[in-house]
């Protein structure tokens, strides 16, 4: 039984019109020891949002490299945050200028995984109970979120552990450019996996990118990112 990781990120129409870079970042890594998928969404109002999002991907990659898979959430969160701050400090960027959300899935070849999310976006899984793991925190409106550089509380993070056991089991990690405009989520994981079946990494990225570029919600302007992990 194998595992596939696929991802795509596209610049939103708003950023294209304003000549701004993609302020989302995605990272997927599939090694012999473990696998990792990260989605980060830099807060558009901050000057170094794009850098902050890329730094989040790097920080998570470094954190999982040095941490045991069995480490507790607090230890892992602290490691991610420390690496993110170090990355910014080396570039003399203030954390407040690079605020970013951070969602990641870290797993082992046997299918076990752990999830962590700070800020907007959505992690979905098939089968449940991972389904709809992290909803938007209550009390906010569109484009208002917390993230690295803002949050100082472990409680702002949402974590879960689970297992991808069977063929077709999967996870989706997405930025709020997608999650805020979903009319429903039931069946989405399976639909995405089905659309990627039989495609290689490059073909899958291109196919996902086309879907994200052609997003049909009127007025959508955000960058959009999606990472997919599924059993084959």
């Amino acid at each position: 039984m194998g595992l596939r990781l696929r991802a795509a990120t596209v610049r939103g129409p708003g950023h294209i019109a304003d000549g701004l870079p993609n302020q989302d970042a995605v990272l997927i890594r599939h090694g012999r020891r473990d696998w990792l998928a990260v989605v980060a969404d830099g807060m558009g109002s901050r000057r170094q949002a794009a850098l902050g999002a890329r730094a989040a991907c790097t920080a998570v990659r470094r954190a999982v490299r040095e941490q045991s898979f069995d480490s507790d959430d607090h230890t892992l969160i602290r490691a991610v945050y420390s690496h993110w701050l170090d990355h910014l400090a080396q570039r003399r960027v203030l954390p407040a200028d690079a605020v970013t959300t951070c969602l990641f899935a870290w797993g082992l070849p046997d299918g076990r995984f752990r999830l962590l999310q700070l800020g907007d976006g959505l992690i979905l899984g098939h089968p449940e109970p991972v389904h709809g793991l992290v909803q938007r925190p209550g009390g906010v409106f569109s484009n208002e979120t917390t993230g690295l550089g803002l949050s100082r509380r472990y409680a702002d993070w949402h974590g879960r552990r689970g297992r991808l056991d069977r063929r077709g089991d999967g996870l989706l990690l997405m930025s709020d450019g997608l999650s805020e405009d979903l009319v429903r989520t039931d069946g989405l994981v399976l639909a995405v996996i089905a659309s990627l079946r039989g495609r290689g990494a490059r073909s899958a990225r291109a196919a996902l990118g086309r879907e994200l570029h052609a997003w049909p919600t009127p007025g959508h302007s955000d960058d959009k990112s999606l990472a997919v992990i599924y059993r084959t």
């Binding site: 906010v140 484009n143 007025g219």
Partner: protein, 225 residues
């Protein structure tokens, strides 16, 4: 099935909620007529706005003797007009604020994908009920506190201290309407600001409100009578 089959087919809502004083004192000096005209113009303008980037949703709460949803929260493009309000009775602003808070906290009516709401208060007098407790509750509430709030003081008897406290838009100040035309001008300025925001690349950010520009209506005879 493609991913796009899971996507919303409507733009994100941009909620606008008006708290309109329709107490008995508004009957004097043509104030209620001007308010009705201003609301009619606002409805007409919002209904004609493009829904390309954001969909304006409008609600009106009146407070004259009682507080009530005069216009339930409605997508503006579905509005064809609005009945005129009558001026009558006391000024139960506290009750109106309670209704406003309840609406802004209702995630079914205003989903979390909505942009930060705009809350407009227009009043010509002093509240006759306890408004401070409901106002503090609104300020402490999870979502309602995040609304951008504009206030209009109508005439010399308006409770300016209360209205100044209500107004929270950093880019503008409390607007004074000394005559009926100024009421219309204020609402025109709010309408232009909301419309600009709904058309902008980022409707999450407030658009500046410009009272001076709102005075230039090419369709209006510039006569004082």
């Amino acid at each position: 099935m493609a991913i796009k089959d899971f996507a919303m087919t409507t733009a994100r809502p941009l909620p606008v909620l008006i708290l309109a004083d329709t107490s008995g004192s508004m009957a004097a000096d043509g104030k209620i007529d001007a308010l009705n005209q201003a609301l009619r113009d606002m409805v007409q303008s919002f209904a004609a706005e493009s829904r390309l980037r954001a969909e304006i949703h409008l609600g009106i709460i009146t407070f004259g003797e009682t507080a009530q949803f005069y216009l339930p929260f409605t997508p503006a493009h579905r509005l064809t007009g609005i009945d005129a309000c009558n001026a009558y009775g006391s000024t139960p602003l506290g009750a109106a604020m309670e209704l406003a808070r309840g609406l802004l906290e209702d995630r079914d009516l205003i989903p979390s994908r909505a942009f930060r709401p705009v809350l407009v208060l227009a009043s010509d007098g002093h509240p006759t009920d306890d408004w401070e407790t409901p106002f503090q509750t609104l300020l402490a509430s999870e979502r309602a506190q995040k609304a951008t709030r504009y206030a209009l003081a109508i005439g010399n008897d308006a409770d300016e201290m209360m209205l100044r406290e209500f107004h929270n838009d950093a880019e503008s100040t409390l607007f004074h309407a000394d005559d009926a035309r100024s009421i219309i001008r204020f609402f025109r300025a709010v309408t232009m600001s909301v419309a600009n925001r709904s058309r902008s690349q980022n409707p999450a950010q407030s658009a500046p409100i410009d009272y001076r520009k709102a005075g230039n209506n090419p369709d209006e005879l510039d006569l004082d009578f």
